[in-house]
């Protein structure tokens, strides 16, 4: 009976466990896995492209921002992840909300962080009912240009 169960388990195991399952590069302790899963993760679909991808079509727009203080921000942080744009989606949903701007520009007391070097406002008192983009140009945010 016991032998039958053992044989049964071994037979099931032979069919159930993939052939590439075993001890890989990092040894038994850290590398005991199905090797094919590394390829699975490598082929995971990417959503975010990058500024260079945007530049392929929107060259004028991207280069005109080169001198802006906001040029350090990736296009996709505000315009949304590209996915397979321009095919799918054809248009990206731009985030123009106050919530986006105050991620950096809500003034906090952070003496040990780069945050304190960024111009900030108190969102509760600084024109609370107005969208930031009504007055500030998000691409060229210099106050002198307002």
């Amino acid at each position: 009976m016991v032998i039958a169960i053992v044989v049964l388990i071994l037979v099931v195991r032979a069919f159930y466990v993939p052939s590439d399952f075993g001890i890989q590069a990092r040894g038994y302790t850290f590398g005991f896995h199905r090797l094919g899963n590394e390829q699975d993760w490598k082929s995971f679909p990417s959503k975010y492209k990058n500024r260079d991808y945007c530049k392929d079509c929107h060259e004028e727009k991207v280069s005109s921002l080169a001198t802006s203080k906001h040029s350090i921000i990736q296009c996709e942080n505000c315009h949304g992840a590209a996915f397979n744009h321009p095919e799918d989606p054809e248009k990206l949903a731009i985030n123009r909300s106050r919530d986006l701007c105050i991620r950096c520009h809500s003034q906090l007391v952070t003496p040990s962080s780069g945050r304190s070097a960024i111009p900030g406002i108190d969102p509760a008192t600084h024109n609370p009912d107005t969208a930031c983009v009504e007055c500030h140009n998000p691409h060229h945010p210099n106050l002198e240009d307002m």
């Binding site: 950096c104 003496p111 962080s113 780069g114």
Partner: protein, 257 residues
């Protein structure tokens, strides 16, 4: 010339002549390594540069299909505020997904805590993610071989093999693992394995406007991240656990856990 001297100098000459010229060429250790770079992914966080905008968290969640409204995340940002009385406040509302926009600290069940501006001595942000430890305790405890480390040092989870027992989530001293609410397996940061293995950047590092997050090859002496880890003052989290993390931090404070 005595016979003894003759034999001696002959021996010296013969052994000298048999050395090939290439054996005498002087090589910089860096050159040798750079010609044959091994690959070991490492991460560098500069906490001085982090402003707590949370763009990294948002990009990570969208890139890696983690529901935005679920209270789990592969990377998160913590805010540390220290006061004159020596009190330490830490918060991370929704992992910093929507940035830090309020002066009030989110103390969960204890409610929101407003700290007077004048009382604050230190305040800063610390982005966190999986450390991809060289001795990953989460991998050791997996009973089925569903989580593992690749040859280039990235700790991954096999979603088809994971039984969702949760040992690894308990085993991680950094709280970097969680139960994926949609896939129903253990989940964690992959260093964006699908991006870095194709020469790209991680979604979080790319989204960071300030260069506070960077990924690189720790084995390549010409890599900017490897250089910074070698030449600058960097710290790691919870050294006492012996996990040998591969995420390094510039400007780590002793209160950061």
């Amino acid at each position: 010339m005595k016979r003894r001297d003759f034999l001696k100098s002959t021996a010296v000459f013969v052994s000298g002549a048999t050395l090939s010229l290439s054996a005498l060429e002087i090589l910089e250790p860096g050159e040798v390594l750079a010609a044959n770079p091994d690959l070991r992914w490492g991460f560098l966080v500069d906490t001085y540069k982090c402003v707590g905008c949370g763009f990294c968290v948002k990009a990570c969640k969208i890139e890696n299909e983690i529901p935005l409204d679920a209270k789990v995340t592969r990377t998160w940002v913590e805010r540390y505020v220290m006061t004159k009385e020596g009190k330490i406040w830490i918060d991370s509302p929704m992992g910093g997904l929507n940035g830090f926009t309020s002066k009030e600290m989110d103390e969960n069940a204890a409610g929101m805590e407003k700290i007077a501006d004048g009382d604050i001595t230190k305040a800063f942000f610390v982005p966190k993610l999986c450390n991809h430890c060289s001795n990953p305790p989460c991998v050791q405890v997996c009973p089925v071989g569903a989580t593992y480390q690749t040859a280039d040092g990235v700790v991954l989870v096999d979603r088809t093999w994971c039984i969702g027992c949760g040992y690894c989530i308990m085993g991680c001293p950094y709280g970097a693992r969680f139960f994926h609410p949609v896939v129903h397996t253990a989940d964690k940061c992959t260093f964006c394995y699908h991006r870095i293995t194709k020469g790209g950047n991680t979604a979080c590092a790319q989204a960071c406007p300030f260069g506070a997050r960077r990924i690189g090859n720790l084995r390549d002496p010409r890599d900017p991240v490897a250089k910074a880890v070698l030449n600058q003052r960097v710290g790691i989290l919870r050294e006492e656990f012996g996990t040998n993390p591969n995420a390094y931090y510039i400007g780590l404070d002793k209160e950061v856990r």
